[in-house]
């Protein structure tokens, strides 16, 4: 080492040369020995090794193993500077956190691996955090676990929860906004708004056609005075209102097509939706009843032509949503006779309870 140190002043440019050449390639590139020698910075293999050694000692390079073959990655100069100031303990911890990469490492696992006492560990982590080398985040999967990972990494989906979560919680506002936009997009693709009078045909003079049209017109005018028996299924009398129907041969949107659409619209402040994120959102909207699945991957808008709020016989009666339904008995304070909800619903008086 001393020898190398002695050589250092003359070789400074060589170190920098090697480092710069490495830095010129895309960030995160991994260099094997043959890559580094191909840069033709060092004259001999020994010299190259000493250069690499020096860079590693300066934390400017990180040595790794791939298939039992050594390989290297370069570090940012500023980060290397910080790393040089670390104590031995801190360094060990840093190595472990570094290993976990985006998955992060749980503080308890860290302790088990390093065998450090809790106070030492805490102290080291604190100092690492203060140097802005690591960050601590909450795991979504295990909300009570504190995870550590390198500060420049974004936590993996496992612990951070993907696109729709912020700091462990679902970003409800964003989800709502995005799902509305997606909903509209799906509706545009799969539905069509038809005006009421889209097929405004004139009746022919055949008797059947006349009766037919008569019923048609009466249905539209809602002429209830005239009790002419009209067909059991009269055309819906929605006046000028338009109505949504499914398109006859749509290209059904899928998670990937909607993700592309959303990213193109660029409404999420630079965030990009991946296919899995979109899948999650669409599944949720299907649960919600806004969309329905037509095949394994395709979705369409769920239509409900019945706008009135009717559910079924049970819940439309007062009993269905009664808060004291389970207490209600044949007689006693809560019964059909004394029921205030029935009274309200029917507009009649119920028996008073004294």
């Amino acid at each position: 080492m001393k020898n190398e140190d002695g050589d250092a002043p003359g070789a400074v440019s060589r170190f920098d040369q090697l480092y710069d050449k490495c830095a010129a390639s895309p960030p995160g590139t991994i260099f094997f020995q043959r890559d580094l020698s191909a840069m033709q910075v060092a004259d001999t293999m020994e010299e190259l090794l000493s250069l690499i050694n020096w860079l590693c000692g300066q934390q400017l390079m990180k040595m790794m193993l791939f298939d039992n073959e050594p390989c290297w990655k370069i570090r940012d100069r500023r980060e290397a500077e910080k790393l040089r100031t670390l104590t031995a303990d801190e360094n060990v911890i840093y190595q472990h956190i570094d290993q976990a990469q985006t998955e992060g490492v749980w503080i308890k696992a860290l302790r088990a691996k390093t065998n450090f006492a809790q106070p030492t560990l805490n102290k080291c982590l604190k100092s690492l955090e203060s140097k802005d080398l690591v960050q601590s985040i909450m795991s979504v999967k295990y909300p009570n676990r504190k995870m550590y990972l390198l500060s420049y990494l974004t936590p993996s989906e496992e612990i951070a929860g993907g696109l729709w979560q912020r700091g462990g919680d679902f970003d409800l506002g964003m989800i709502e906004q995005v799902s509305q936009i997606v909903n509209q997009a799906v509706e545009r693709e799969t539905c069509i708004r038809v005006p009421a009078n889209w097929n405004n045909y004139q009746p022919t003079d055949r008797a059947a056609a006349i009766a037919h049209k008569k019923a048609h017109v009466q249905g539209r005018l809602r002429d209830i005075e005239d009790g002419v028996p009209i067909r059991p299924y009269k055309p819906p009398s929605h006046g000028n209102a338009t109505r949504l129907v499914h398109r006859s041969n749509p290209t059904y949107p899928t998670a990937s097509s909607l993700a592309t659409f959303l990213n193109a619209a660029d409404i999420m402040k630079g965030l990009k939706a991946r296919e899995v994120d979109m899948e999650q959102l669409l599944e949720m909207m299907t649960l919600d009843g806004r969309l329905e699945k037509v095949s394994a991957i395709a979705y369409r808008t769920a239509l409900n032509t019945n706008d009135t709020k009717t559910f079924n016989g049970f819940v439309d009666a007062p009993c269905g949503t009664c808060p004291v339904f389970d207490l209600c008995a044949d007689d006693g304070d809560i019964s059909a006779r004394t029921c205030v909800y029935f009274g309200e619903w029917l507009g009649t008086e119920s028996e008073e309870i004294y």
Partner: protein, 654 residues
């Protein structure tokens, strides 16, 4: 115990109310004893009540006549009585059945069905005499026995039943009172021929079946009888000992039960009838029958009559068929909600096309699944397919606008006319002018909409008849149940409840965090809903300890959803809701009792406006409104019961 025969206190109460409503207090007293104590013989019944033996016998006769109780007299020395819960509940559907029959087969048939419903069963000949009293006055005395027992049931003698008749008729919707006046100036059943036509049609369509003494056996007795028959026939009356043989016996017992039951609904060969009734023709029964009615009385003496054996045959309504019809109505309503009225109309036509082939909604005694290990030489019977072609539908869709409810682009493509920018037809199309092929294509487009719906109302089968479609009732029935449960939950807990149930149904057992991810919400927001729904019994919670000591902190808390449990819970609640409605009706009636009594006086009836004061009239009107509203709700709850109970067997592995 038979699945359909499991009764709950709530159902018992509900049925007691229904019996009281229709058959009066005595029958209902006897009924409620049976409801409380279960299977009883006459002696036990007397002991369990304050009524004397005569009164109880009278009550029982009414109940037996209307098939509300099973009795074991065909097989045992001491007759035991047991309530038929399905039939008892069916009392609430009387009006609906008459309506459904009228929709399908016209007034003639509905008059017959109405009569049969109120009297339980009658012989065909007696029923004929009720509608067409014999001219000979001497025979009038015989007419008393219209509802006399079938030859087999000695317990029921005519007089007793007729004792209840007046009451029964009092409750009827008027059609019968009219019918009893004979063939005067009524609008339906003008001739005996029409009567026979209607009976024959109803029997061929499976709405009416013959009365058989085995129908009076409770499920337990029925099982015994079937078992004895099987053992006598193949096993020399001895129960075999081997497991494999026992399995075979069980299978044969089920087959025996099915064949007995199927024999009930088998229409007799109407050999004496010259004209065959065309099954497909029943859409316009009125028209057809009128043509025949021109023959008038003249023909009734000759070829029109049934043979003497047929005249003697006692008949009753087939309950299973009613469930089938209710399923049709329910599905059509659902389609109307989801896809609009026109498509619903087409679906109605499709369903009615297959209705005559559908005997029942689900097999009550299905064969147990065959072990995959041993593939016997007997192949499993091919599943029954219910097929409809677009061609069938097209024939019956002339009276409404089949262009409605479709994407205008599809219509314009089929008819070859162009659309303008706002999707309006530039050259409007009158569906009546369209050619046969174009109409077929339009129908096809509607059916495709049905098939594409998540409910899969129809499934493509083959290209026969332009396009042939299959209706997979079982899957649809299951989705219907799910749909109603979801409806209920979303009414109780808007938004979140529905989402939660669906998430659990899709993903199975989940812990809190997983629910959160599925619903994309935070755990605290969900907790309240989970709690509420668990308390109401729609979802279940479960605690799995991770360590020996059961600690909340060291346990996994799971939430799950079981369709069958939720279904039974909702069914139970619905029964209870129906009780409350009936009680409320009674209460509302009590409030206006005085006015009602006055209004029902013979001199006041018809002249209400003259004899009643203004406030009395107001009270009467508002009571009518209230009653109507409550009854309507009662029938809607009955719809729900039908969905939950009658369309699909127990969902054991769901």
């Amino acid at each position: 115990m038979s699945y359909t025969q499991r009764e709950t206190p709530v159902l018992a109460e509900l049925c007691s109310f229904l019996v009281q409503d229709i058959y009066g207090e005595l029958a209902s007293r006897v009924y409620s004893i049976l409801a409380r104590y279960g299977r009883q013989n006459l002696h036990q019944l007397v002991k369990a009540s304050y009524l004397n033996r005569r009164q109880i016998t009278l009550g029982l006769v009414t109940l037996v006549q209307s098939h509300l109780v099973f009795h074991s007299s065909p097989v045992s020395a001491v007759t035991a009585y047991e309530i038929d819960w399905q039939q008892s509940y069916a009392l609430v559907r009387f009006g609906r059945v008459v309506k459904m029959v009228e929709d399908r087969f016209g007034k003639n048939a509905s008059a017959i069905v109405g009569n049969l419903l109120e009297h339980g069963h009658t012989r065909i000949g007696d029923l004929k005499n009720a509608f067409f009293p014999p001219q000979d006055p001497i025979e009038d005395s015989e007419d008393e026995g219209v509802n006399g027992a079938g030859t087999k049931r000695k317990r029921t003698n005519g007089t007793h039943v007729n004792g209840t008749d007046t009451k029964v008729n009092g409750m009827s919707n008027g059609s019968l009172d009219e019918a009893d006046h004979g063939a005067g100036d009524k609008l339906y059943l003008k001739t005996v021929d029409e009567f026979y036509d209607a009976i024959q049609l109803l029997m061929q369509q499976g709405w009416i079946m013959r009365v058989d003494e085995t129908q009076y056996l409770s499920p337990g007795d029925f099982d015994q009888v079937a078992l004895t028959q099987v053992l006598d026939a193949r096993w020399n009356g001895q129960m075999p000992s081997g497991t494999k043989d026992k399995g075979i016996v069980a299978r044969e017992v089920l087959a025996q039960k099915r064949s007995t039951r199927d024999a009930w609904a088998e229409p007799p060969q109407f050999a004496t009838r010259k004209r065959k009734v065309n099954n497909r023709d029943h859409e316009q029964p009125n028209k057809r029958l009128k043509v025949n009615g021109a023959n008038g009385w003249a023909s009734s003496g000759g070829d029109g009559d049934f043979s003497a054996a047929e005249e003697q045959m006692p008949i009753r309504i087939n309950r299973e068929k009613i469930a089938v019809a209710m399923r049709t109505e329910q599905l059509v309503r659902l389609v109307e909600q989801r896809l609009g009225p026109t498509t619903a109309r087409i679906y109605q036509i499709m369903l009615r096309c297959v209705e005559s082939q559908v005997r029942r909604c689900f097999e009550e005694w299905p064969d147990p699944p065959i072990d995959s290990k041993k593939k016997d030489d007997e192949p499993p019977s091919p599943p029954c397919l219910y097929l409809v072609t677009a061609h069938d539908v097209e024939k019956q869709s002339k009276d409404f606008d089949i262009c409605e409810g479709l994407d205008p682009h599809a219509v314009s493509k089929i008819t070859g006319r162009s659309l303008d920018k706002s999707y309006k037809m530039e050259d409007p199309v009158d569906p009546i002018d369209l050619g046969h092929h174009e109409r077929l294509q339009l129908i096809h487009a509607h059916i495709e909409n049905l098939a594409r719906d998540p409910f899969h109302f129809a499934t493509w089968h083959s290209r026969a008849g332009h396009s042939q479609w299959q209706i997979e009732f079982e899957d649809i029935a299951k989705s219907l149940i799910q749909h109603e449960i979801e409806n209920t939950v979303s009414a109780k807990k808007p938004q979140l409840g529905l989402k939660l149930i669906r998430a659990l149904k899709k993903k199975g057992r989940l812990d809190e965090r997983q629910i959160g991810i599925a619903m994309m919400m935070t755990a605290p927001d969900i907790r309240a809903v989970v709690n509420d729904l668990a308390v109401q019994g729609f979802i279940q919670t479960q605690e799995v300890p991770k360590v020996d000591r059961r600690e909340a902190k060291h346990s996994i808390h799971l939430v799950w959803y079981d369709r069958q449990r939720a279904r039974e819970k909702l069914l139970h609640d619905t029964y209870k809701g129906m009780i409350r409605i009936i009680q409320r009706i009674a209460f509302e009636k009590e409030k206006v009792q005085a006015v009602l009594e006055k209004a029902e006086r013979t001199d006041v009836r018809g002249n209400e406006s003259r004899f009643l004061g203004r406030d009395e009239l107001d009270m009467l009107n508002s009571w009518k409104e209230v009653e109507e509203r409550l009854l309507l709700q009662l029938f809607r709850e009955d719809d729900l019961v039908a969905v939950l109970r009658d369309f699909c067997g127990p969902l054991v592995s769901a």
